[in-house]
């Protein structure tokens, strides 16, 4: 199993150190007044868009099915999180964590409820039925004003989303999805993308894996929704319309369907672009739409393809520790 030059515990130690260093560095930078307020705000937004994109990438990129209702799961999480925090059941960090987990779990339940029937379909039909479910969720939120505030919106949501909360969620999300994809379950999911019928005939329970991927995706979309609520302090149902689903899809597609690194870079670029494109703003959506079409025509795999960043590989290349890894290179992190 030790196909890489660096021993596994060492790799974990390196990765853990890097992650802690990143969080600490980010915390110092965002709290230390080194950035402008708009930059701080964008960093938070980038955070929940990373979660949204990475979680959409699981069904869209790895599983090869295209859900168009991601905003619906985000909405469920946002309202659950907001109601949880407003109710003030817990206090302090317990409340923050409790709200996020509640948002994720309820959203995942929705994912299962929707996924079980919807995933019997595939391709275009799956895309359309998830779009239908996403819109249904919005109609429900709109028509339950006594709970959700309806179209008038939900105000005074405690603003819990600071850098630490958001980026710990980002790391947990990336880590969990990364680990799923590196496990037996991940290979089953990739197999379903490549050939569902062959996968099924190999004895793999495709329905189970599809629903699981869907539920995990919904879980993190819900967490991201709660972070969104905790950033803005106000929710209106129209925030979660079809355009939101399209925005998330745009990040995933431009980054590269099936590349976590691509989703992350896509989220960073597309979320922070409006801040730097003030003069060109009226052309921005036209440029996005053109990019979407051109990428699909000329590089359907997205800008990053299926390339995924791997610290281990970088270290190997830098340190020249590639003694026995050549033979199994294809099966390692870099699945291109």
């Amino acid at each position: 199993m030790n196909r890489l030059g660096i021993k596994t515990p060492a790799r974990y130690a390196i990765n853990a150190t890097l992650i802690i260093a990143f969080i600490y560095w980010g915390y110092v930078i965002t709290q230390g007044g080194m950035l402008t307020r708009a930059q701080n705000n964008i960093i938070i937004q980038v955070g929940f868009f990373i979660i949204l994109a990475v979680s959409l990438n699981l069904p869209a990129g790895y599983l090869g099915q295209l859900p168009l209702g991601h905003a619906g799961f985000m909405a469920v999480g946002a309202y659950i999180g907001a109601l949880f925090w407003r109710s003030g059941i817990l206090s302090g960090y317990g409340s923050v964590v409790g709200g996020l987990i509640a948002a994720g779990i309820v959203s995942a339940i929705f994912g299962i409820i929707i996924g079980v029937p919807a995933l019997r379909l595939r391709g275009d039909y799956l895309a359309i039925i998830t779009l239908g479910f996403g819109e249904m969720i919005r109609v429900l939120i709109m028509n339950l004003p006594s709970i959700t505030g309806g179209a008038q919106g939900l105000q005074q949501i405690p603003r819990h989303s600071n850098f630490l909360v958001v980026y710990i969620c980002v790391i947990v999300c990336c880590l969990v999805i990364h680990m799923i994809m590196k496990s037996r379950h991940g290979r089953a999911i990739l197999a379903i993308r490549d050939n569902e019928i062959a996968t099924e005939s190999m004895g793999i329970n495709t329905t189970y894996y599809k629903v699981m991927a869907f539920a995990v995706s919904a879980f993190f979309a819900g967490v991201a929704g709660a972070l969104y609520a905790g950033t803005l302090g106000i929710l209106v149902p129209s925030d979660f319309n079809f355009m939101m689903s399209i925005n998330i899809l745009m990040i995933v597609v431009l980054g590269g369907l099936g590349s976590m690194m691509g989703s992350i870079i896509g989220a960073i670029v597309l979320t922070s672009l409006p801040l730097f494109m003030q003069g060109l703003n009226q052309y921005r959506l036209i440029i996005y739409a053109l990019l979407l079409i051109l990428v699909m025509i000329f590089k359907p795999s997205g800008l990053m393809g299926t390339y995924d960043f791997s610290m281990g590989h970088v270290l190997e290349k830098v340190g020249g520790w590639t003694m026995r890894s050549k033979k199994e290179g294809g099966a390692s992190d870099d699945s291109e």
């Binding site: 295209l66 039909y125 249904m136 109609v139 052309y283 959506l285 025509i297």
Partner: protein, 290 residues
Amino acid sequence: MLYVAQFINALQLGSIYALIALGYSMVYGIIKLLNFAHGDVIMVGGYVAIFALAAGFHPVVAVILVILGCTALAIIMEKLAYTPLRTAPRISVLITAIGISLLLQNLAQLFFGARPQPIHIPFPTGSISIGAVSIAYPMIITIGVAVLSMVALNYIVQGTKLGKAMRAVSEDTQAAQLMGINVNSIITFTFAVGAALAGIGAILFFVRFPVVTPTVGAMLGLKAFIAAVLGGIGSIPGAMLGGFAIGFLEVIVNAVGLSRWTDGAVFLVLIIILLVRPAGLVGKPMIEKV
């Protein structure tokens, strides 16, 4: 009396949905492409009508210009965006279609602004009375045009050589090519016919609802698509049936005072039909080939 008025209203709304659903259905039936931008073609048709009428063209000429404009737009779309993706995965094609829809909406907003603009298409006014019920001419014309279009389309597909070629391409593209059918021109023709129907639909829609905004096509396209799926996508009578069904559903839900659930009801129907009978009311079930 009240019921008759609502019935005719539903019939007119259903006719418009049906015409637009026909376009979706044809394109999907032949190349399995879900043309998300179909609704936006109607929006473009609306702006063409505004400019044609403002430029002083005779209304009949304006109507022809709208139909030609929609057709030309669809052919450009097909040649530039869809042809290069003929062999690409379905997911790529769907994303491209979404991209085109976004592009058209935002271009319209850039050129024409977000302000709602009136369209005044001169149309025969007046009404005929049957007993206590009076039916306006536009209603009769709308329903008549929709039924005629369906009959004509059905004839093209079932009764002509061109239609035979279309069905062959739909059945097996490669085999059709081997039999000497020019697949590319058949697909382009299909797009053109679908868009011409959208152009007719645009005229009828804007006679009934005379306001254009850059996003007017989005919801309309979605509803028409749901109608096509409900009827059985790929089937011409199915699209017609689905269109009328959605029209009636909306009017009934609105009329009984549940209008806040209208969209919900339409999406619910979509979900149920996809789960219970994905092939639609009259479509043939598709068998997965290994």
